[in-house]
């Protein structure tokens, strides 16, 4: 492998995955930065005059390995983040039924399909370790694309209304509970006067 290829991979694969992740979560994940730190360490060894030529090749391979891992991790972390939001919808019956621009059954079917896609990407990564790692990158990318599309079906206005209605109901229940408690207390106090 040539060092040019490493930087080509950096521009063509890593940068897009990093942009998607950081652009979506709005922060820089520590995990990815640690991986990049390792890449830089190995690259510095390639240009270290004290290092033997065969060791330079080893360092180049290791640098590529870390960069590949960082790219895959970007998509995995992005999927985990998107999945957390999808799971929140899945577990909230009222948002699932009323807060989406698609039907509840469509949402659940698509979520199941997405999980299968994610499983397939993971399986591909496991079987192609050291053979064709790029194949799993495309699959992970596909999982993120479909997950993002599904998230897009969330209707923020409807969800806000549902949450506000839920708050109103729980406040009403709390107030009614207190009122009933005071009322029954007074009644029982009054009855006790006659005993």
């Amino acid at each position: 492998m040539e060092i040019d290829k490493l930087f080509e991979f950096y521009r063509n694969e890593f940068i897009p995955s990093y942009s998607d992740l950081v652009g979506y979560i709005g922060d820089k994940p520590q995990q990815i930065l640690i991986e990049l730190e390792n890449v830089v360490s190995h690259i510095s060894q390639i240009f270290n005059p004290k290092v033997k030529p065969h060791e330079r090749d080893e360092n180049l391979k290791k640098a590529y390995g870390h960069l590949l891992r960082a790219t895959l991790d970007c998509y995995k972390l992005l999927w985990v983040n998107i999945h957390d939001q999808l799971k929140m919808i899945e577990e909230d019956k009222s948002i699932r039924k009323l807060g989406l621009n698609i039907s509840e059954s469509d949402f659940l079917i698509k979520l199941q399909e997405l999980r299968k896609l994610a499983q397939e990407a993971r399986r591909k990564e496991m079987v192609s370790v050291g053979l064709n790692p790029l194949a799993s990158i495309d699959l992970y990318k596909g999982v993120v694309r479909e997950g993002y599309k599904l998230i897009d079906n969330m209707d923020e206005n409807k969800i806000k209304e549902i949450k506000s209605l839920k708050r109103f109901i729980s406040t009403k229940e709390f107030t009614s509970g207190i009122a009933i408690g005071i009322f029954t207390g007074l009644i029982s106090g009054y009855i006790l006067l006659f005993i």
Binding site: I15, D20, Y24, K28, Q31, L36, L77, R122
Partner: protein, 70 residues
């Protein structure tokens, strides 16, 4: 340049104009109006509970990913 899934659409940019993480960070920071913070996305990070950060970290992301498949 490989196309992005979210970034170009969300930020209205073309990936051909970028080649470093620094340039990407700048676009995001300008849009958000604040500096990007370094965060640890996984609460179950083992970096602080065990010794070697690197190997354990890898395991961690894969485990978090696998949890989404259940």
């Amino acid at each position: 340049m490989g196309k992005t899934v979210i970034f170009e659409e969300r930020y209205g940019v073309n990936m051909n104009d970028f080649s470093t993480t620094e340039e990407i960070d700048k676009v995001i920071e300008e849009k958000m109006g604040r500096k990007l913070q370094i965060v640890k996305l996984d609460d179950h990070g083992i970096a602080h509970s065990r010794g070697t950060v690197f190997k354990l970290r890898k395991y961690d992301i894969d485990r978090r990913f696998d949890e989404t498949l259940k």
